[in-house]
């Protein structure tokens, strides 16, 4: 009944009974990152296909913007809310606001302790960091020098992925992390920071980046320094990163499949509105992708 843009027109096409008037609110963490852009797009595509309205608000990675966005969705009287929390702890209030207004909430990505949500869909970022770290260590056969590029300091993902990576490497005493710097999840920064580090550590064997953007930037820096046999491992599994794996540029990426992420969330949200029971935790597919399995992985998508 509300809204004047395209979303409204879509509900006529949906054939499913019971879903005609459903409006899903989606409070997304950020769109400054291709990963989340893909999440948003897949969610919107799924909503269109299933004939429901979807209303997306963007928090730009800021906690208070997330609260505001959720509040706006509550005012809009959405039927169900998907929250991709900016922070595993800080986003609690935002969710409580919606719960109090009687709107069922699903969280994706980070789980929020103590939140009264219908279900959580996600994965363990610490574990993902560990898997990526483990893979890198194996590539280096347990020895060598590596660089770590962290995400934006003070954010959850950055902390967890770094923690996991360091956990994994703590089992490999012969691998030295020569430098660990933040590159803000940003490609340009990834390139610049890598270039700087290469000035004092020109002989490196591996590089770990907390997301694909930084990893792709780092590759740029490595290539221009003619360091083509450095193993580069990153996180996310965006389309560009996967192509880079095929091209044997990127060694591997911890793919958390943005497509599945968005689609699944919408499907589950509709089920929630229709009163179907949900498990407490739905594990999202995540898979480490390297040259070995990249074709397979792409085919599945």
């Amino acid at each position: 009944a509300c809204g004047s843009n395209g979303a409204e027109g879509q509900n006529n096409e949906g054939g499913d009974e019971g879903s005609e008037d459903i409006t899903i609110g989606y409070a997304i963490n950020t769109l400054n990152n291709p990963f989340f852009v893909e999440v948003k797009e897949s969610a919107e595509a799924a909503a269109e296909e299933l004939g429901v309205n979807i209303s997306v608000v963007n928090a730009n990675g800021d906690l208070s913007e997330q609260i505001s966005g959720v509040e706006d969705l509550v005012q809009q009287q959405v039927d169900v809310l998907i929250v991709d929390p900016v922070d595993s702890e800080g986003s609690l209030t935002a969710i409580n606001g919606a719960v109090e207004a009687g709107i069922p909430v699903i969280t994706t990505g980070r789980s929020i302790e103590g939140a009264d949500v219908v279900t959580h869909m996600g994965y363990d970022e610490v574990k993902n960091g560990e898997i990526a770290g483990e893979f890198l260590a194996e590539q280096l056969e347990g020895q060598g020098k590596v660089i770590e590029l962290q995400g934006t300091l003070g954010t959850d993902v950055a902390n967890n992925r770094s923690e996991g990576f360091n956990n994994a490497l703590s089992n490999y005493p012969d691998i030295e992390i020569v430098s660990s710097q933040s590159a803000d999840f940003d490609r340009t920064e990834g390139m610049n920071v890598t270039e700087n580090i290469l000035q004092s550590h020109s002989e490196i064997d591996g590089l770990y980046a907390a997301n694909d953007e930084m990893g792709l930037g780092a590759l740029q820096a490595l290539n221009s320094n003619n360091l083509s046999d450095v193993a580069v491992v990153s996180n996310d599994g965006t389309g560009e990163a996967l192509n880079s794996v095929i091209d044997e540029e990127l060694t591997g990426t911890m793919a958390v499949s943005p497509k599945a992420y968005g689609e699944e969330a919408v499907v589950v949200a509709i089920d929630v509105v229709n009163g179907e029971e949900q498990p407490e935790y739905i594990e999202l597919p995540s898979e480490f992708v390297s040259l070995e399995n990249v074709e397979e992985f792409l085919a599945e998508q």
């Binding site: 509300c2 004047s4 505001s68 706006d72 969705l73 300091l153 003070g154």
Partner: protein, 318 residues
């Protein structure tokens, strides 16, 4: 006839003064038409609560800009003061102490900015830019990069509670604007803020201790950023070391949109409040009518432009 012309001129100048107010009203009308959920008490309270943090920061920024300066450090102060406040609460369990700690940190940072700017005659932009970087880093180090949870309900009342039907942050927002309005219009300090912004040298030649008033202005700005930090922390039940990023630009935008000149000497907090409301209502309204996020920026940019152009035509002669 002379009387009539005068009256005409008076009412014209009223419209001029409130040009931006008309635009705010226009925005409210348009969104009310587009969504039945916009023009409701609950949505207004929700929107006002949303703008309270930026609103309070922008109030302090107004004084700074009228004075002819600028304060880029307010965003970092929000992070720093929030973290300190939350840490204090965590270690002492004392709500009052935590609030005071947050306010104090803000005021101290502001005071230091003011001293550097006035006593060493440094550029406000560079000093507060350095502060912005510096205290942002301090917030990260203090919190170890992690958000700090605050579960004290007394503290969280500041962000989540109500005074009668009015959310507490909205109550604080109104109080801050009333106090600053009073300071600017009625006190000697307020008079000096305008005159320093208008002509610092002349003010100094009139025997005014310009430095002290400058320091007070930056301290006020810091203090209000500290207050904003406490409210934000209480709203979120947690303090994040990266909270407040970019708030400085939002606040400055609201101040300038509200008719305060970047060159100092003129402006009002009332205008700023309208500026804050325009920007805030716009975002909320677009979320409410479900404008796609990518198009929100485009719409926002166009509407800001439209607003200043309309305002210019209303104020054509100035």
């Amino acid at each position: 006839m002379d009387e009539m012309t005068k009256k005409k001129l008076l009412s014209l100048s009223a419209i001029q003064k409130y040009g931006m107010m008309l635009i705010l009203v226009l925005i409210i009308i348009i969104f009310s038409v587009l969504s039945p959920n916009f023009f409701t008490y609950s949505n207004f309270m929700s929107m006002l609560r949303q703008i309270s943090v930026i609103g309070i920061i922008a109030a302090g920024q107004t004084l700074v800009i009228i004075k002819g300066g600028i304060d880029l450090s307010v965003g970092s102060i929000v992070a720093f003061a929030g973290v300190v406040s939350a840490l204090t609460l965590a270690s002492t369990g004392n709500t009052t102490l935590a609030i005071i700690a947050g306010l104090l940190v803000g005021a101290l940072v502001g005071c230091l900015n003011g001293v550097l700017i006035s006593k060493l005659k440094l550029s406000p932009l560079i000093v507060t830019l350095a502060s912005m970087t510096l205290y942002g880093g301090v917030a990260l180090v203090l919190s170890d990069g992690n958000p700090i949870i605050v579960s004290e309900s007394g503290f969280n009342f500041l962000g989540q509670g109500y005074v009668g039907p009015i959310p507490f942050p909205v109550f604080l927002l109104i109080a801050v604007y009333l106090v600053l309005f009073f300071i600017l219009r009625k006190t000697i300090h307020g008079q000096y803020i305008y005159s320093i912004g208008g002509n610092e040298k002349a003010t100094k030649l009139s025997g005014v201790k310009v430095d002290i008033h400058k320091i007070i202005v930056y301290t006020t700005s810091g203090l209000l950023a500290g207050l904003a930090a406490v409210i934000l922390t209480a709203r979120l039940s947690s303090a994040s070391p990266v909270a407040g990023t970019g708030y400085e630009l939002d606040a400055i935008a609201a101040v300038i949109l509200g008719g305060t000149s970047l060159f100092g000497g003129r402006g009002s907090v009332f205008g700023t409040l309208i500026g804050v409301a325009i920007l805030g209502f716009l975002t909320s309204g677009m979320n409410l009518i479900n404008v796609s996020p990518f198009y929100q920026d485009i719409a926002k940019g166009l509407i800001i432009l439209f607003a200043v152009i309309i305002d210019r035509f209303i104020n054509r002669d100035k």
